[in-house]
């Protein structure tokens, strides 16, 4: 039975009762040699899960050949890991710096070369543009005679108004008592209208 623990007057949280978890599948009690070999790299690198690790350890305890293989691999790896590490030669840095300097110079010169080409292209384009603008301006400044299409002038034909229809201006002037000058104007042009009206009547007959 779990009871609360008391330490110097403070109550410590009750320990959680252990829950037994059922692992799906059988426990790796008997691992065969093939399975051991397949997982051996992870066993050496210590990347196996707890249950797999127990299985591997149990297999080593039971299988002499696999245990021997495990020791051999571990010892050989230790030998390899302890091989002396070589250091770069004394000229290494100097050589690398020379190569980097040469690389930087070539990059700079190529950048300059490219920028030179670009500048030349811009210059040529500018000259062409200026030439075009100049020629356009010269055309604008040159005085040129404006040629219009020929105008054919002729006398408009007089409108023929029949005698039976008095001009609206005359009618309006008479009814409203407006000054007589419109009527006078009409009277001045009347003979012409009479002639036209006679001609139209003769034509219709």
């Amino acid at each position: 039975m779990l009871r609360p623990t008391w330490t110097k007057g403070y109550k410590i949280r009750e320990p959680v009762p252990i829950k037994w978890v059922l692992v799906p599948g059988p426990l790796p009690l008997h691992m065969d040699c093939r399975e051991f070999q397949e997982n051996h790299f992870a066993f050496i690198d210590d990347t196996l899960s707890g249950i797999e690790l127990v299985g591997m350890q149990r297999h080593i305890a039971e299988c002499e050949n696999c245990a021997k293989h495990d020791v051999t691999v571990r010892r050989s790896l230790l030998l390899f890991r302890n091989l002396p590490r070589i250091e770069p030669s004394a000229q290494f840095s100097e050589r690398l710096n020379d190569r980097l300097r040469a690389l930087r110079e070539s990059e700079t010169s190529s950048a300059f070369h490219h920028s030179g080409k670009f500048a030349a292209a811009v210059a040529v384009a500018s000259v062409v543009m200026l030439g075009y603008i100049g020629s356009s301006l010269r055309d604008v400044d040159t005085p040129r005679d404006i040629v219009f299409p020929p105008v054919v002038a002729n006398t408009p034909e007089l409108e023929a108004v029949p005698l039976t229809m008095p001009a609206p201006a005359l009618v309006a002037s008479a009814a409203a008592g407006l000054p007589i000058w419109t009527a006078a104007l009409y009277a001045e042009r009347q003979p012409l209208h009479f002639v036209t009206a006679d001609l139209q009547l003769a034509g219709s007959h």
């Binding site: 051999t72 050989s76 030998l79 390899f80 250091e87 770069p88 840095s93 050589r95 690389l103």
Partner: protein, 212 residues
């Protein structure tokens, strides 16, 4: 007076920049270099030159060529750093370049067997190498045995198939994770694990008779 003070400050400023770079992680150093700090590149070289040299040396087995290839790695890093995806690890990228160069070198050699033989003989007959595997207080016969064992180990690595050796060196010498190795060698994780397992077994088999 001020100019003298400034001149005295200049070297201090340089050393403080170097100290600051040394305290940064790779990503920050790369950012500093791309931001125009040329000294950041020296910091990257300092961090990786020995590691890359050992990786390439253990892969191709030729020290001089390994140095040339490490130089080539740094030249490529310098030229293409602006295109490096900074969401990834710089070390993985650098090792990928080194790995590709080493693979190319081995491919070129396999096309020219004479060069391969000359290189192997040169390395085997080189007696000027430092005896770092030995303890100088040991007896001469012990020293001989240990030197012999070191040569056996080196030869055994060289005997591994190329793709196994790559994975083996990256894991055992450089301590790379499986995921990083997969990225560097452009293989999937399963292939990396399987190659590593086979490489370890083969290596142990070759070395085992000399260990007892």
């Amino acid at each position: 007076m001020r100019s003298i003070a400034r001149k005295q400050e200049a070297p201090n400023q340089g050393s403080s920049v170097r100290e600051r770079l040394r305290a940064m992680d790779d990503s920050a150093v790369v950012t500093a270099f791309l931001g125009g700090e040329e000294r950041a590149f020296s910091e990257l070289v300092e961090r990786y030159q020995t590691r890359l040299l050992n990786f390439i040396y253990r892969t191709i087995g030729d020290r001089e060529k390994a140095e040339d290839l490490v130089q080539e790695v740094f030249i490529r890093v310098y030229r293409h750093l602006h295109r490096f995806d900074r969401s990834k690890k710089f070390s993985t990228w650098a090792y990928t370049i080194a790995s590709n160069l080493a693979k190319n070198e081995l491919r070129n050699r396999s096309r020219n067997p004479l060069v391969l033989m000359q290189t192997v003989q040169k390395n085997w007959q080189d007696d000027d190498r430092p005896l770092q595997f030995e303890d100088t207080t040991s007896r001469p016969d012990d020293m001989y045995r240990k030197r012999h064992l070191r040569e056996i180990v080196e030869e055994s690595v060289a005997k591994l198939p190329e793709h196994h050796r790559h994975v083996f060196v990256l894991r055992e010498l450089e301590g790379k994770s499986y995921e990083e190795i997969a990225e560097i060698t452009d293989c999937n994780l399963g292939t990396v694990k399987s190659r590593l397992n086979r490489a370890r077994n083969s290596f142990a088999e070759i070395v085992a008779p000399y260990m007892d």
